[in-house]
């Protein structure tokens, strides 16, 4: 039971990390406001379900749409500019969302948060979501779309010379990422059953970015492993749990300095590849 719970929470966060992976890992867009998108997703779903009595699937879809629309709106002014502007405006967005949720206390419960959602999301749904999202991301990564992303990440100017519409590419990526993140937030709301405005501050957003870098920029498998280790760590090592973030920080800096491609470099754990590797070693 305990391990099930740990697995649930870890998986929930892994969805968020996957959302960030597409924009930060593949495309090199840093957002310190993904926490804001998590909150938007969580609150949209919760409010739609609780206050407007919409069915649960509709609430989920609304959360995803809200995330995507917000991503689009924020993307318009910022994605044309240097990455630093994007970083800062997304940070501001996170703070704005927090302030707005506190202010609109009629709808959101303010600082008291929202509770009393029925437990609509169990482990099966979360795991299916992860598999589905991983599949989408993997397909995107291997397609022309993903290669465009990597080109934009590594050198924007060269990418635009090769005929990639950098702005449009970033916009698509940001919208997809925001949608995934908001979806993760909605699942969170109906699994943890309690949400409050301060749950996802900029530190949480920063953490999502950092975990992506530990896992490896070019490896979805690496990112999933890194996030699984990080988020289950505290449950198994309670005595040093408070030092978890400090430890993570040290690890990240070491990884960035000594192994800039992340722990997994470009390795993907695909069944086919693994079987091939085993076969090769036997021969």
């Amino acid at each position: 039971m305990f391990y099930l719970k740990v697995l649930e929470i870890t998986s929930l966060y892994t969805i968020l990390v996957l959302g960030v992976y597409l924009m930060t890992g593949l495309t090199g867009l840093f957002s310190l406001g993904q926490g804001g998108f998590v909150s938007i997703g969580a609150y949209t779903a919760a409010i739609a379900f609780m206050k407007f009595n919409l069915p649960f699937p509709v609430a989920l879809i609304m959360a995803v749409v809200m995330g995507a629309v917000l991503g689009f709106l924020i993307g318009i002014p910022t994605l044309r500019l240097r990455r630093d502007y994007f970083l800062l405006i997304t940070f501001g967005l996170g703070e704005m969302v927090r302030a707005a949720l506190l202010y609109l206390s009629q709808l959101t419960g303010g600082a008291l948060g929202m509770a009393g959602m029925p437990r609509m999301v169990g482990l099966p749904l979360i795991l299916i979501s992860i598999i589905f999202i991983t599949f989408i991301l993997y397909s995107l990564k291997r397609s022309r779309f993903g290669r465009n992303c990597v080109a934009v990440r590594d050198d924007e100017m060269a990418a635009s010379m090769m005929g990639i519409n950098v702005y449009a590419q970033k916009m698509k990526v940001f919208i997809i990422s925001s949608a995934i993140t908001a979806y993760g937030g909605a699942l969170y709301a109906f699994n943890i059953l309690f949400i409050e405005p301060n749950l996802f501050n900029w530190l949480e957003s920063g953490r999502l970015i950092i975990i992506t870098f530990v896992g490896g920029l070019n490896s979805i498998a690496g990112v999933i492993v890194a996030s699984a280790i990080y988020y289950s760590f505290g449950e198994f090592f309670r005595f040093i749990d408070v030092w978890r973030d400090v430890l993570l920080g040290v690890v990240v800096i070491l990884v960035v300095i000594f192994r800039p491609g992340g722990l997994f470099q470009g390795l993907e754990l695909l069944p086919k590849k693994l079987i091939e590797k085993v076969k090769r070693e036997r021969l």
């Binding site: 044309r80 500019l81 501001g92 704005m96 920080g249 800096i253 960035v256």
Partner: protein, 294 residues
């Protein structure tokens, strides 16, 4: 809102804006040289605030000595951070994204470390000034705020002189405009970058001390750096003068907004107006644009 209250808030805003300007310049110095957003500056501010607190509380209960010590401490802290986490990746020629990751990580690391070690307490600086306010007719001017303003102005003026007139300042500007060529002219780039981090660190130390004195010391004091970065953006990334002006504007705008519409709505209005500003005039007040060179 009556006229006196507006004037009062204006004064407070300018003092607070002075500290924002300090942060904006500390941030801008590093941005100019290495072209990345240095979030670890917030870490310097936090550590300096604690350092200043412990110095003034337990070692020398003297304002001037501890203040200068903290400033120098901040400077060396900046150099240390550069040596530890930025130099290794710079020498490898790592892309800017990795600098950004390291700086965000460092900021997080410091904040979490202090939260674990001393997070459950607030530490007020000792009262250096006995009577904290000057009464002039209907006005009340906080002496601490007045001190903040004059110190900020002084530090910025000195820095302006260093950058404009001295040899190291000229080298700094040369490296800012092009990081490769100056080494052909016999400038030691590593040293210049260290100096940039030293100056930024001194500003961070001063900021930490002033913030700690004006409010209380807690692990999240470094998050104030975001105000500095906002000011740097409004001022135009990389323009130090623009950053100072924008810092003052931001401080005043915040104070007035808080008095007018309350503290809960203020961040919404501030960030929304910055998004609007970026739509209309992305190059900020100074109008300098940064072109990504191939």
């Amino acid at each position: 809102m009556n006229f006196n209250l507006i004037l009062q808030q204006l004064l407070n805003g300018i003092s607070l804006g002075g500290v924002y300007a300090l942060m904006a310049v500390g941030f801008g110095l590093i941005f100019n040289v290495l072209k990345f957003s240095n979030f670890s500056h917030g870490g310097v501010v936090t550590i300096s605030a604690y350092f200043g607190y412990f110095m003034s509380q337990y070692v020398f209960p003297n304002f001037v000595i501890t203040f200068i010590l903290t400033a120098i401490f901040g400077g060396f802290l900046g150099v240390l951070i550069e040596k530890l986490i930025f130099r290794p990746i710079r020498l490898k020629g790592a892309p800017l994204t990795l600098f950004l990751v390291n700086s965000i990580t460092a900021a997080m690391l410091v904040q979490q470390f202090f939260a674990v070690m001393w997070g459950d307490n607030y530490y007020p600086y000792p009262e250096f000034i006995k009577e904290t306010a000057i009464h002039m007719g209907e006005f009340t001017i906080s002496k601490i705020y007045l001190l903040m303003l004059s110190i900020s102005a002084f530090v910025l003026l000195v820095l302006g002189y260093i950058i404009k007139k001295t040899k190291i300042g000229i080298a700094l500007r040369a490296v800012s405009s092009d990081i490769r060529t100056p080494s052909l002219m016999g400038i030691n780039i590593d040293f210049v970058i260290s100096m940039a981090f030293f100056f930024a660190g001194v500003l961070g130390g001063v900021t930490g001390y002033l913030l700690g004195m004006a409010f209380t010391v807690d692990p999240f004091i470094g998050s104030m750096i975001i105000k500095g970065i906002v000011a740097a953006i409004i001022g135009g990334m990389g323009s130090l003068g623009g950053g100072v002006i924008a810092g003052l504007i931001l401080g005043v705008a915040e104070s007035l907004l808080i008095a007018e519409i309350g503290a809960s709505l203020t961040p919404i209005v501030v960030y929304a107006s910055i998004i609007l500003l970026l739509l209309i005039r992305p190059e900020g007040i100074s109008g300098k644009t940064y072109i990504v060179k191939a």
